[in-house]
Subunit: 329 residues, 2 copies
């Protein structure tokens, strides 16, 4: 069994990492693709990237379709750049169509920043990631961080469980609402309300911003945890940039409070616990399929189950007992 | 290591199964909760249910919020009941708010069928299912099937990857569109277009139904697979029941074609291959956490990773090498 990363793969991963760290954005784009595709060299690349992660701030921004997330994220990125921060943006939109929209979107968005290597935007397609979208997003963030980006903005639509899982990876979660979108706060995805560190009321020049703020405050009084600080509410107009400096200031204050209270470390530990479990699951399965159970055996069992010749719930423990020697007890 | 289900658990599972099969809907509701909660007795219950599954038809119905899915599913259920078929409905809506909406919705919907034990509706919350929403939905369907339901309708919002995974579990996939909802066909979730067996244009008394049908046909000519039959397009008005008999007829024809061509068996084998992999992953992790790696060790590693004292990508293979004895090579 392979217990360490082969030397050659490690050397190649280090070569790619050096190019990324020298500011080569094409190398960065390629490295992200390696991770997204779960290519064979992904693990050695991530192992090489890991020592260069941990100091960037990861900011998750989520809201319903139409909340103006992209515009807000672009404005925030611009503002961070003006403050001499390097920025990476990971945009995840599972509701986007599959006709190449993500890549086209990158080009349109990159145009606004074309002369600036200090900002790097990557949209992620959302299909068929081995181990799930949240895991892949976390790994893409690591590669961006290893490239030296100081601020990582993770933009996602707040609709499915996947998105809640993605937002849980961030150090700070910003939930974006807009006035006049139906049930407003009530329509928020389960769980988002509880994990918001900052609320943004975007398009706040529209009628109804006061009502949204009152609703947020009312929900907060229900959902409040005694030990967590009350989230700030910031009003913005993404199209004009109004309120962006205030948002950036709230994010910086929130980051400082998380760091000084030790909660940042707690959050990151909790995120790593989940990722570690997922990595263990994935690696055990990989080893089982590589050394124990062939694809043709797997297919034969699936056929027997579909034909009702084998009960999957008795098969699984039997298979593992024969493939993995008894241990522990 | 436990390689078979303990006798007592099996006896209890069989007792519950007998009550379910005798038509006891309270027992059915309880059994579904056991599976949803991944309670300790879930595996023995599923093992007991499995022999009674395989003959029901599972029909997945998916579409954007506002496409009128619930109404359409209710009408279809009514129509199937009129044809002396027993029906189970599993409704999965990750966009629903978290204020108990699912349970309230069940009550409202059940009212229309209150005198009829031949139809059973279950809405699923969508948070934190161990092993994922698609797995849990598949297992809930198995319990419904074991209760003797001949037609299982799986209703889901077509927005996230989770929903595509859910729809892949169905024997037949019905994609529901409505006229006048923005980009119509272009806004469909990636992957749904390719797996649709039947398209429904609901609310087809509205203007624009012709345009939606033309768009479907245009997309089909791009996405067509040579070996798969061209999906039918059925127009319905859910609120009046118009087009429901035609939809039911298309579903029956589609089911017959799938059965006679052997494609039903292929589809189910492919679904079982995925589920088997997921079950193996889950069971290996369970065994590892039960007999190898304690929660406190897991937390200690997560803390060390978050503090940058341990590289997770080298840790995972090392951990497994020490916990699982070498095998194979």
């Amino acid at each position: 069994m392979t217990t360490s990363i082969p030397l050659q793969a490690a050397a190649q991963a280090n070569a790619l990492l050096q190019r990324i760290r020298s500011g080569d954005t094409r190398a960065l784009a390629r490295a992200i693709s390696v991770v997204e595709d779960a290519a064979p060299e992904a693990t050695s690349l991530l192992a090489a990237c890991y020592p260069y992660t941990g100091s960037a701030l990861r900011i998750g921004l989520t809201g319903a379709p139409g909340a103006g997330k992209s515009t807000l994220v672009d404005q925030l990125a611009r503002h961070l750049r003006a403050a001499e921060q390097t920025v990476g943006v990971v945009a995840v939109d599972p509701t986007s169509p599959y006709t190449g929209g993500a890549i086209l979107g990158d080009r349109i968005r990159m145009n606004g920043h074309y002369a600036d290597a200090g900002i790097f935007i990557r949209s992620m397609a959302t299909r068929g990631f081995l181990g799930g979208l949240a895991k892949t997003t976390a790994e893409v963030c690591m590669v961006m961080e290893a490239s030296g980006r100081q601020q990582i903005l993770i933009e996602t639509v707040g609709v499915g469980q996947d998105e809640v899982d993605i937002v849980r990876l961030a150090d700070i979660t910003v939930v974006i609402l807009v006035p006049g979108m139906g049930d407003d706060v009530q329509s928020l995805k389960a769980g988002l309300m509880e994990i918001a560190d900052i609320f943004v009321i975007n398009k706040s020049d529209r009628e109804g911003a006061d009502r949204v703020e009152r609703e947020i405050r009312a929900m907060q009084s229900l959902a409040a945890h005694a030990d967590a600080p009350v989230p700030a509410v910031v009003r913005t107009v993404g199209t004009t940039g109004q309120g962006i400096p205030a948002l950036q200031q709230e994010i910086a204050q929130c980051a400082e409070a998380l760091r000084s209270s030790g909660r940042l470390q707690q959050k990151r530990q909790a995120a790593w616990r989940s990722r570690l479990v997922e990595m263990l699951r994935q690696e055990m399965l990989r080893q089982l399929l590589a050394h124990g159970l062939s694809e043709s055996e797997l297919q034969a069992h699936a056929a027997a189950i579909a034909a009702h010749q084998e009960n999957p719930y008795t098969l699984v423990p039997q298979l593992l007992a024969s493939l993995l020697p008894a241990r522990g007890q």
